[in-house]
Amino acid sequence: MTHAKVQVVDEAIERADQPFISARHVTAGYENRRDHTRLIALRDVSLDVARGEFLAIVGPSGCGKTTFINMIAGFVQPLEGEITVDGEPVTGPGMDRAMVFQDYALLPWRTVQRNIRFAMENRRTKPSKAEQDERIRKAIELVGLTGFEKAYPHELSGGMRQRVGIARALVTEPSVLLMDEPFGAVDAMTREAMQAELEKIIAQTGQTVVFITHSIDEAVTLGDRVVVVSSRPGRIKEIVPVDLPRPRMDSDIRGSQRFAEIREHIWSLLQSEALGAKREHS
């Protein structure tokens, strides 16, 4: 493991211009053993993400976004095609990638604090206890949960739970952040504040982010590119580059003409896909 890492660093220099995350003709689906059928969720998706890029994904509900991010995370194996991260095919989850789950996936028997600590404690080389505590404190503050360190998930509101999941993913500063609708359950204001924080953090750390969202505004605000996925079976409809300067959160960019244009474009792309989640038979 350690050996492999050293190698990665070495090669990273040569491969700086290579895509960091790359999907090649990926098809994914789920088998239904009851009636011996297979539902194809994503069909023939090819996509490159550069190192340090912020890739936003939007698309109709059920189009395979979670499936796609799960493949990058290593939970789901593609039926066809291949996904590589930093040149290595993904065979399972790795500590280089952290995930914010759509359903939060908090451990109900752990307090907020210990849920966040979970992200660090399993590593072979982990930060010192004091360092961990400090990082946890910061992460909790970041997501606005100070005072709830010792609360259990069932004692939190929906949005608060979601924020624990975010803190857990951010606390280790992984090189890839996989975020599946991370701000879906928080209110508009908290969402903005957290978007700003996220932008700040990744500007500092240079993390690569794959970010699923239902909010077109959010996609355009945060993304370097926005992938628009079509209805199931999901295909890439278009990849929209967002050529707006950063930082975007503190400025008036969201009131700008260009922002509105991009937003309109994505909107129209999606228009034809809405409520298209009917099960197609091929």
Partner: protein, 264 residues
């Protein structure tokens, strides 16, 4: 998009194949150990002799009447146990007062040896099938109860709310929310009940006056130092138990296809 997938026609037999190889190896090892006489043959017969005894037992009609007596009693006993144990267990799990009041007796009854109750039972019920059934029920009902009780505490409160929100009354809550949620506990409890009920059945047959059943067969084989026959009976018991348990697991899978997620 839905595709038809082909499942290898042999896939369902994989487990059967593993099981066959597994048991094959086990029996061969048994035979080898027995032949080496590492353990005295009086207590550890060859498996070939054991199967021989079983075959002869069936062929000469020695086993079947006993087996059928036991099986019939046992199944009736288990049905009664489930019918009592599951509702009472669920009630104890969801009602704090019922729990506090019944728990001591239930746990005492779960852990006291059944043999200790036989004289009392015979006294009250006399000899005969009712008494044997009672022992089976007394053996099986408590494991079912305590597992159901433990299960209820795990039910997701969200689902209880959903149940109440959509007008489920008390009985519907048990039937439609609590029971399905606790199913794995219930099944595991029933399986534990099967295991203990079998022992109860043997005790009942041994001490209960009928001179019938596998328990009687077992005792007589022991008395006569007929090790092959003794082991043959034990194997029959094991088959009975494993068969019933597998049946329960199959039932569970049928009743809960939603648990078969591809993640596992």
């Amino acid at each position: 998009m839905i595709e038809q997938i082909k499942v290898s026609r042999f896939a369902p037999f994989r487990n059967t194949a593993i099981t066959l190889v597994n048991l094959g190896v086990f029996f061969v090892l048994w035979e080898l150990v027995a032949r080496a006489e590492v353990i005295n043959p009086l207590f550890f017969p060859r498996i070939t002799d054991t199967f021989d005894a079983m075959y002869n037992g069936f062929a000469t009609g020695v086993i079947w009447p006993q087996l059928s007596h036991s099986l019939q009693n046992f199944l009736i006993g288990m049905l009664i146990s489930a019918a009592i144990g599951i509702p009472v267990g669920l009630l104890m799990g969801s009602n704090k007062v019922a729990d506090v009041i019944l728990s001591p007796y239930v746990w005492a009854m779960t852990s006291l040896p059944r043999v200790a109750f036989i004289p009392l039972l015979i006294l009250i019920m006399g000899f005969g099938n009712a008494m044997q059934l009672t022992i089976i029920v007394l053996s099986a009902v408590f494991p079912i109860m305590v597992n159901c009780m433990a299960g209820v505490k795990t039910v997701d409160p969200s689902l209880l709310r959903a149940g109440r929100a959509f007008g489920a009354n008390r009985i519907q809550m048990y039937g439609k929310i609590i029971l399905p949620f606790t199913l794995p506990f219930v099944i595991s409890g029933v399986n534990q009940g099967i295991a203990r009920g079998l022992v109860g059945m043997l005790i009942g047959e041994l001490l209960g006056g009928g001179g019938e059943g596998l328990g009687f067969l077992l005792d007589r084989a022991g008395e006569q130092f007929d090790a092959p026959m003794l082991y043959a009976t034990l194997i029959l018991l094991a088959v009975m138990s494993v068969g019933l348990v597998q049946g329960m697991r199959w039932l569970e899978r049928r009743a809960a296809p939603w648990r078969e997620s591809p993640a596992r």
